[in-house]
């Protein structure tokens, strides 16, 4: 199952459409990390609303992805983690250290606007 990646202005938006296998997730990671450079994106949003399980592998992959994207100069926000999934993740002992999270796509976009604007100011 491929995850469509949308380019919207300075951002890339990947919205996961169905449960992903490990290979799908790794492919998503590779695609996003390479496209961030291709499109000179400043932010990436990964929408995980449809995922009803985030196990250690998924968490580890998303975190690694966010760190790689950071190294390539962009921010990552994971949006749409469901209440049950969040609960299960903390029970399992999983955290997304160093990764921004937001309630949904809308909040994610607001957060990215906020953060990338801040960066702009600092850069100037």
């Amino acid at each position: 199952m491929l995850v469509p990646i949308l380019k919207q202005g300075d951002y890339l938006i990947a919205s996961i459409q169905s449960e992903l296998s490990d290979a799908d997730l790794l492919k998503l990671r590779d695609d996003l990390v390479s496209r961030v450079g291709e499109f000179h994106s400043r932010g990436v949003i990964v929408d995980v609303t449809v995922l009803d399980v985030m196990d250690s592998f998924a968490t580890r992959t998303l975190r690694a992805m966010a760190h790689m994207i950071m190294l390539r100069g962009a921010e990552t926000v994971i949006v749409g983690i469901q209440p049950e999934v969040a609960f299960s993740m903390v029970q399992l002992g999983l955290k997304l250290e160093g990764v921004e999270t937001a309630l949904d796509l809308e909040e994610g976009l607001t957060l990215l606007d906020h953060r990338t604007k801040g960066d702009n100011k600092r850069a100037r």
Binding site: E19, L20, S21, D22, A23, D52, V53, M54, D55, S56, F57, T59, R60, Q82, P83, E84, V85, F87, S88, Q91, L92, G93, L94
Partner: protein
């Protein structure tokens, strides 16, 4: 869907199948949404354990009854290399593969009962159970 089924596990794609089937079976028992997620996640972890360390194995799901409580039983078994030091493997953060090392101890926290039997060179068998809350308390 029968009360009992086994899923052959030989690739990472089977992980998704295993947790979906587990969730379906557990839903029939009346677990809450949160509990369904916990069960599916635990199944994901033990199934991945098979794929990562033993390459192939089997995941069996069944409805179990003990006295007047009902629950789901998950048995993940393989004929892989086995775990030399179970105590160490059950410690948070320990991993010989490339995972976070939260897999097995994490799955244990998500379920009510957890048992692991392993013999080096012969294989590993993880048995987990979760009971429907109303009947336990």
């Amino acid at each position: 869907m029968p009360d009992e089924l086994c899923i052959p596990v030989s690739s990472e794609i089977d992980i998704v199948t295993a947790r979906q089937k587990g969730r379906e079976l557990a839903a029939r028992l009346g677990f809450s949404n949160t509990e369904l997620t916990l069960i599916a996640t635990a199944i994901s972890e033990v199934t991945r354990n098979i794929v990562e360390y033993a390459r192939r194995g089997e995941l069996c799901l069944s409805i179990v009854q003990q006295g007047n409580k009902r629950g789901i039983s998950v048995i993940a078994s393989d004929r892989g290399p086995g775990i030399p030091n179970i105590k160490l493997a059950m410690q948070d953060g320990y991993s010989t593969g490339h995972s976070l090392g939260l897999g097995l101890p994490g799955a244990k926290r998500l379920m009510d009962e957890f048992e692991i039997v392993s013999e080096v060179g012969k294989g590993t068998k993880v048995t987990m159970k979760k009971w429907v809350q109303n009947n336990v308390r």
